[in-house]
């Protein structure tokens, strides 16, 4: 097989993933919503869909999935007659799609062909997608550091440049006794953790690690060596990590060290950008925006941007301190009357005391309601 065949297999695999992700969404959602799930969009609608249709394995499967590639997949699916377009019905509904009989059969066939049942098994809850990347960064950096320590050479450039991962590994190794424990037991814990996995997956995980005498391979390079599709390896890689995380969560007493790389709780709200999530955490402790700006040493206008983001993504947030319900209604009415979302125009037509922040907050919630 050469790279040309790999490209064909890549396309085939992506179609298989897309079809199976679309299956529960047929007749109810747009095609785009499947794309957003695969990319791991942090919008409310997407997160709700993942939950509602139990599409956990698909969430953020390909976080850098280019839109052009997606369009190509979709048109392939249409051309093959596996899915059919369904036009928007009423005024409020959006165009959706439906499956043909051959499409249903094909989806099932592909599911078996690519052993999705195996690779998807560990994805039983929604936070796994969020955990995979940080876990891998910490594990990768820990292995590199310990490997360097065994060779008595700490003068190395860390492969993981992510600051949070670096800090977490540094904390783990700050204490002398812990350092010794990691040095002595990491290899053994990894062995027990990965030994039950498929051999191909073991090797896939291992060869991406770096340390003394080994620079990790990229997924693309492994795909080339194995003459297979990169995305199919991505599935197996995610499976390996998700399975590892599940084991570590369930049997943390058997893995006293490695479990430390997963259990660090996610205090920050995953729906938000990191910075906005910190602001939200402070809001919940009762701070107002001035205090938050001071505490975080940021401009108040930056905190205001966070508030708008929170209003958009966290429907439970009570923002009446910043925008009384009455005023919110007025602003939305003004916006509808003028048929515009342009802040300047709305502000001109509102009372002088109305701030841009209030208009942005009102519009943030209004669009949510309409959709």
């Amino acid at each position: 097989m050469n790279s040309r065949n790999s490209a064909a297999e890549e396309q085939d695999l992506l179609c298989a993933v897309a079809l199976n992700a679309m299956l529960p969404l047929a007749n109810e959602r747009t095609l785009q919503s499947a794309y957003y799930i695969l990319r791991g969009r942090k919008a409310n609608q997407t997160l709700q869909d993942v939950h509602l249709y139990t599409l956990y394995p698909y969430y953020r499967m390909f976080s850098r999935f280019p839109r052009e590639d997606w369009e190509k997949i979709v048109s392939t699916l249409f051309q093959a007659g596996w899915i059919l377009p369904v036009d928007a019905g009423g005024t409020n509904s959006k165009p959706t799609f439906t499956f043909s009989d051959t499409g249903l059969q094909h989806a099932k066939h592909m599911y078996q062909k690519y052993r999705f049942d195996v690779w998807f098994a560990p994805f039983t809850q929604s936070d796994l997608a969020e955990r995979i990347e940080p876990f891998w960064s910490r594990l990768h950096l820990m292995v590199q550091t310990i490997s360097q320590m065994h060779h008595g050479d700490l003068g190395f450039i860390p492969v993981v440049s992510d600051k949070t991962a670096q800090r977490s590994v540094k904390n783990q190794l700050a204490d002398g006794a812990m350092r010794t424990a990691w040095k002595q037991q990491l290899s053994d814990e990894l062995y027990r953790l990965w030994e039950p996995l498929d051999e191909g997956v073991q090797e896939l995980l291992f060869c991406q690690l770096s340390g003394v005498g080994q620079v990790g391979k990229t997924l693309g390079q492994v795909a080339e060596i194995r003459q297979t599709s990169r995305s199919y390896l991505m599935l197996q890689f995610r499976y390996g990590l998700a399975a590892s995380i599940q084991t570590l969560l369930a049997e943390s007493n058997h893995y006293p060290l490695l479990s430390k790389l997963v259990t660090e709780s996610h205090k920050l709200d995953p729906r938000l950008t990191e910075s906005a999530a910190r602001t939200y955490a402070l809001l919940q402790t009762g701070s107002d925006k001035k205090e938050i700006a001071k505490k975080r040493q940021m401009k108040e206008s930056t905190i205001e941007d966070h508030l708008v983001e929170i209003a958009l993504r966290c429907p439970e947030w009570d923002m009446t301190t910043y925008l009384p319900n009455e005023l919110a209604k007025e602003i939305v009415e003004t916006s509808e009357r003028l048929d515009t979302s342009r802040l300047r125009l709305i502000k001109d037509q509102s009372e002088a005391t109305v701030t841009y922040l209030q208009i942005r907050l009102a519009l943030a919630r209004a669009t949510r309601g309409a959709k």
């Binding site: 960064s137 450039i157 860390p158 600051k163 990491l186 062995y191 003394v212 620079v215």
Partner: protein, 503 residues
């Protein structure tokens, strides 16, 4: 300062037996408290000129550097390999981290601080530095301060001011690319005397310059792929766009012989780091990359650089081929060009700079006080990139006007537009110079050296295409085909034992 001490320190921290051209005379001047402009060829060892004084001067050496990744790399290397207490401050760090570093600085825990220019503008950073004794301010990539430089940055504008505020310690400005105009501007901004300008020969005697005009994309690709197969590596192939990188990499991998990987800003950071490490470790023969690759990479044995497309300026070109043969052994620079390259650059220039109407709309938007989100900009037909550019020039115009005419009103939009126009025609000029280089009849080495006011035109093996060169000399002699990965039976325990030897 004692010569012996300088050499001892050079050996101790850097492991070198002798200085490279220019280094010693820069360091001597710096140590005697003079402000200096050092002009060293790319790969000529600029960093030693401030890292070594940092160890010998009583107080702190502050290094202003525009590139965060470079800063992080250098500090990591300093701490790990050279045992120099160094740290860095930039806007990517969180407040807790910067506080810790500032505390360390106040306690005198560091000899060397790398800092981004914008971080250096912050009052609380300046306060800490004022209380610490600053012995030297080194300004890396000093050409960024000059509006005539190809890389002008607004945050460099206020540096002379900052130097004064920190008690006017000596300044060491270093750069690899500076034309005579840029040199003069740097000297006047930092009060550097003429005799304290140290120029090292910019001529790269071991590099041969080749040039090939291509008509069709298909010719270009097959020619480069063929050269990649034949040339003695390691090598770098530079493309103008990410897409070109992906396409060339994919087509090479179809039947090319060498171990090759693409590299560009669209890849995630871990992947980029792995590729870079593999290249440094000799596990890859060729990197196909955009200009995102190469900055701060310390690999002395790069044997060739191919430019798949013509770059936008001679400065950029010189910088990229400057990575060839830092070990002094022969190297080969191949530049491909076509009429299309010029058109693409031309098109990008047109798109990059605003029309007068766009500047006016932007100004109006600013005056409304609406946050300048991408959506807000999109409503007045300004792209994200254009928005960033306009913010840059607004800041710059404000910076020069708040100093000159306090409180007076002035036609801001008009001035901003004129500034962007100046910039556009400047870039246009750079492009024209690049075109005249590729279309010229003269010796390529002489043309590029003359451009940088360098009169030394000596060469080791071959000079250039115009003077005659045999490409064969740069081909690999032994046809070592890479052994395909042998299939060893996979064994998890064995693999782990190798990587994590539990003795």
């Amino acid at each position: 300062m004692n010569q012996q001490l300088m050499h001892d320190r050079l050996k101790l921290h850097f492991g070198y037996d002798s200085f490279r051209p220019g280094q010693e005379s820069i360091i001597e001047r710096v140590l005697s408290g003079r402000s200096v402009l050092g002009l060293l060829a790319t790969g000529g060892g600029k960093s030693v000129t401030y890292q070594l004084p940092a160890m010998l001067l009583p107080g702190l050496t502050v290094v202003v550097s525009p590139l965060i990744s470079l800063m992080v790399d250098q500090v990591q290397q300093l701490r790990a390999r050279k045992k120099i207490p160094a740290t860095y401050l930039n806007s990517m760090q969180d407040p807790t981290e910067s506080r810790e570093i500032l505390k360390g600085l106040a306690e005198g825990a560091f000899k060397l601080l790398y800092i981004s220019p914008e971080k250096l503008q912050q009052p609380y950073v300046q306060q800490v530095l004022k209380r610490t004794r600053v012995s030297l301010i080194a300004i890396d990539e000093a050409h960024c301060i000059s509006q005539w430089g190809h890389d002008f940055r607004t945050d460099y504008l206020r540096l002379p001011q900052v130097v004064k505020q920190l008690g006017a310690p000596p300044v060491l400005a270093v750069t690899a690319t500076a034309t005579a105009t840029v040199r003069e501007e740097i000297c006047s901004l930092f009060s550097i005397e003429k005799e304290d300008v140290v120029l090292q020969s910019l001529n790269r005697a071991n590099i041969a310059y080749d040039l090939v005009e291509v008509a069709e994309e298909i010719d270009r690709r097959s020619y480069v792929i063929d050269q990649m197969d034949r040339l003695q590596g390691p090598g770098i192939v530079y493309c103008s766009t990410r897409q070109a990188v992906d396409v060339l990499t994919a087509s090479y991998q179809l039947d090319g012989k060498k171990r090759v990987h693409g590299y560009h800003g669209g890849m995630n950071s871990m992947e980029r780091m792995l590729i870079q490490s593999q290249f440094l470790a000799g596990e890859l023969d060729v990197i196909i990359a955009t200009n995102a690759f190469g900055m701060g990479i310390d690999k002395p044995d790069i044997r060739y650089v191919i430019h798949y497309q013509m770059p936008a300026s001679l400065e950029a070109y010189a910088q990229e081929i400057g990575r060839i043969g830092r070990d002094g052994k022969p190297g080969y620079a191949l530049l491909l060009f076509s009429w299309d390259d010029w058109q693409i650059h031309q098109h990008m220039l047109e798109k990059e700079y605003p029309t007068q109407a766009q500047v006016q709309k932007y100004e109006q938007l600013c005056n409304t006080g609406v946050p300048l989100t991408n959506e807000a900009l999109a409503m007045v037909d300004i792209s994200e990139e254009m928005g960033a550019l306009l913010a840059f020039y607004t800041e710059r115009v404000l910076a020069s006007y708040e100093a000159a005419a306090v409180g007076e009103s002035y036609p801001k939009a008009q001035i901003i537009w004129q500034e962007t126009e100046k910039r556009r025609s400047f870039k246009q000029k750079k492009l024209a110079e690049m075109v005249s280089y590729v279309r010229g009849e003269n010796c390529l080495r002489a043309s590029i050296n003359t451009y940088f006011k360098e009169n030394d035109h000596q060469f080791d093996l071959y000079c250039c295409k115009k003077c005659g060169l045999t490409t064969d000399a740069y081909f690999q002699t032994n046809d070592h085909t890479i052994a395909k990965n042998e299939q060893i039976k996979w064994n998890l325990r064995q693999a782990l034992d190798t990587l994590l030897p539990n003795k």
